[in-house]
Amino acid sequence: MPVKVPENRQVSPYFMLFIIYGIQVGIFVLSYERVLAKEIGNDGWITILISGILMEVILWMVYRVLEKNGGDLIDIHKELFGKWLGGLFSVIFSLYFLTMSLVVMRTYAEIVQVWMFPHLSYFAIAGMVGGTAYTFVSGGFRSIMGICLLSIVYSTPLFISLFFPLPYVHYENLLPMFHHSPLAIISAAHQMILNFIGFEVLFLAYPFIKQPKKAKKWGYYAIYLTTMLYILLFIITILYYPRRQLKGILWPTIEIWKIVDLPFMERFEYIGITIWFFTILPNIALSLWAASRGFKRVFNINQRITAILMSILIYVIGFFLNSRDDIDLLNAILSNIGFGFLCGYVPFLFVLQSIVYKVKKRNGKT
């Protein structure tokens, strides 16, 4: 029997946009230009476009898989792999989300330490971020949707900062176009995956959406929106920096804020990084929610208890990952898992499910 969520805990169809936008746009927006430019240079925007299209296709698969079953991923796993193996897969899925919240929290703490408060300890920053995220998780799915909406409202004024680098852009930097081979352009797509992962949260959040059929289009819009945002930001960055310099800049988006010159504000990145807190909050809250929700559905334990245990767990693990190399490694691991999950596991699930349903149908007929 697929899971049913009471109507008073559900959200309106258009919240699909906020879920996906909220979890996709996050900490890696501050740094993705560098890795992409390192690999593919000025043609990176094509890569972003291709990965955006790919993500739309995968979103379509996610919808199909969910619609056929009518429940969430835990139901699907149970149906396809049985109770034990399915349960194991579901736990792995939850741990994947836990890793995601850990990576986001640790990377944000590092940025705050480097750019704003070099003396502030990890515990203070992560305590504030994790504590706030937990309060939203404990408030349930609807309160997380609230912060997703607010994060968009709060971070939109940051777009104004993109006007400041315009006097310094050099359009020659985009030329010559298609400088790299098509294969290189496509294979660079894995560098973009960290910016797109997260919308798998739908596997658990789908039952929380009223009239899911109506909500589907909002999901496609959300990915379109994030893709356009990434392309815009990437093009501005490429026009603003020579490639050789960009390769050495760890957070190009933050560095662009440095050119913002306001009479009352010498360092705009303080504002930018502070506002970015509201952009990563839905990231952490949603992934923490997904992780604890997975455990709740598999083991039937109170979600608040798992959520608080999980926040403490990532809080402590984050402390031991204290060097730049550790954080880079963590990002690389998440990137690989995310890539494997979205581009490997989801299509696999899609194919397997349609085969199983076909077989069932045939058996049912005869």
């Binding site: 203070a124 504030m128 504590g131 010559p176 920096y241 020579p242 490639r243 560095e255 050119i259």
Partner: protein, 363 residues
């Protein structure tokens, strides 16, 4: 009630955590506004800083800033910080830095180590001014100028004000862009102390990060015209031996085209379109000066001066106009080495078109 209590505990613990950061009270720090680097000897450099001291002047309540400037000699490769801190009663903060000066002798040996320190520091903005000093940076920073500003703000304003009218745009970001970019070389303003004023002597040209030569200030306008598009420039057209016409509010557009980009003899076309106003008030009008004729003289003069600049740059082998980058954008097989080899022989065709309008209040 129970819930409220728990909330209060959580909130107050957050406040405790925030207390970990060291507070920086503005009265208890020294704000470094200008930095100067000079050559001292083979293995030492002379570093100079200027920090404002804010003191109340009597009972007026007004705060007048006075500059405190001091220098230290440091070994090459050591940061100046420790030595500078040893002479300062408060911690030095670099976040409000406005200008960095480099002595010409030091600039000849390469500036990158001194610029990289600033580049890596998250506290420093990207719009600060850099300049080479013909002479010693220390002398300028120690000089008492007749201005109500500190020497740091004075120098920064001097450079930035000139960038608006007739000097090419430059700051830390532009320097880094040209330094890191392929097929381009950076430049800075060259400053000189003349009695009681600092004057922009010209454009200091760099090869990589080494100072090589400079373009005199007279060439700054034609350089700017080829370097960037801009609004609100001004230029004086020499009509004859001792008569000049002043053109103001010039909006200038530059457009690059490259032919035969992948060959060994690329042809670069620089097309400049200028629109300006003839201000009769700022020059004595000759009777019946034909505006078409002034346009032609202006075009010819700018083309001649522009070509002189291009010849000089090619001879020096430096590329502050970023011509290499223009060729790169047309050529897939472009490489820095190849460009450097052919740069002295490339053909550059400069074409200036001017449209002037007359303004004045008397016919």
């Amino acid at each position: 009630m129970e819930k409220l209590k728990r909330m209060a505990v959580a909130l107050s613990s957050l406040l405790l955590l925030v207390g970990c950061e060291q507070p920086k009270v503005v009265d208890d720090i020294r704000i470094v506004q200008a930095l100067g680097y000079d050559y001292y000897d083979e293995s030492h450099i002379l570093g100079t800083i200027t920090t404002p001291i804010y003191a109340h002047t009597g009972g007026s309540g007004q705060v007048q800033a006075t500059a405190d400037t001091y220098s230290v000699v440091s070994h090459i490769g050591r940061t100046l910080n420790t030595l500078l801190e040893s002479r300062s009663e408060f911690p030095l903060e670099i976040g409000k830095l406005l200008v960095i000066l480099y002595g010409k002798d030091l600039a000849k040996g390469g500036l990158f180590p001194y610029i990289d320190v600033v580049n890596r520091n998250p506290d420093v903005g990207r719009t600060i001014s850099l300049a080479v000093v013909d002479g010693r940076a220390e002398t300028i920073l120690n000089h008492k100028f007749t201005t109500d500003q500190l020497v740091s703000a004075y120098l920064n304003d001097l450079i930035q004000h000139n960038t608006k009218a007739s000097f090419p745009k430059n700051n830390l970001h532009e320097f880094l862009y040209s330094y890191f970019g392929d097929g381009m070389d950076p430049f800075m303003p060259l400053l000189k102390l003349k009695q009681h004023h600092v004057e922009i002597e010209g454009i200091a040209l760099f090869k990589g990060d080494n100072y090589v030569d400079y373009l005199p200030f007279e060439y700054a306008y034609p350089f700017k015209m080829m370097f960037e598009s801009f609004n609100d420039g001004s230029y004086e057209v020499p009509i004859n031996r001792n008569h000049y016409m002043s053109i103001t509010n010039i909006s200038s557009k530059v457009d690059y085209k490259v032919e035969n980009a992948s060959s060994n003899r690329p042809i670069i076309y620089i097309n400049v379109k200028e629109k300006g106003f003839l201000r009769e008030s700022s020059s004595t009008m000759q009777p019946k000066q034909n505006i078409k004729e002034i346009e032609r003289i202006m075009e010819r003069t700018l083309e001649r001066e522009g070509n002189q600049i291009l010849e000089m740059l090619k001879k020096l082998g430096v590329d502050p106009l970023r011509l290499g980058d223009k060729v790169r954008s047309y050529d897939r097989g472009w490489s820095e080495e190849k460009w450097r080899a052919i740069y002295p022989h490339v053909t550059v065709k400069l074409d200036v078109r001017t449209t002037l309008a007359q303004t004045g209040i008397i016919e």
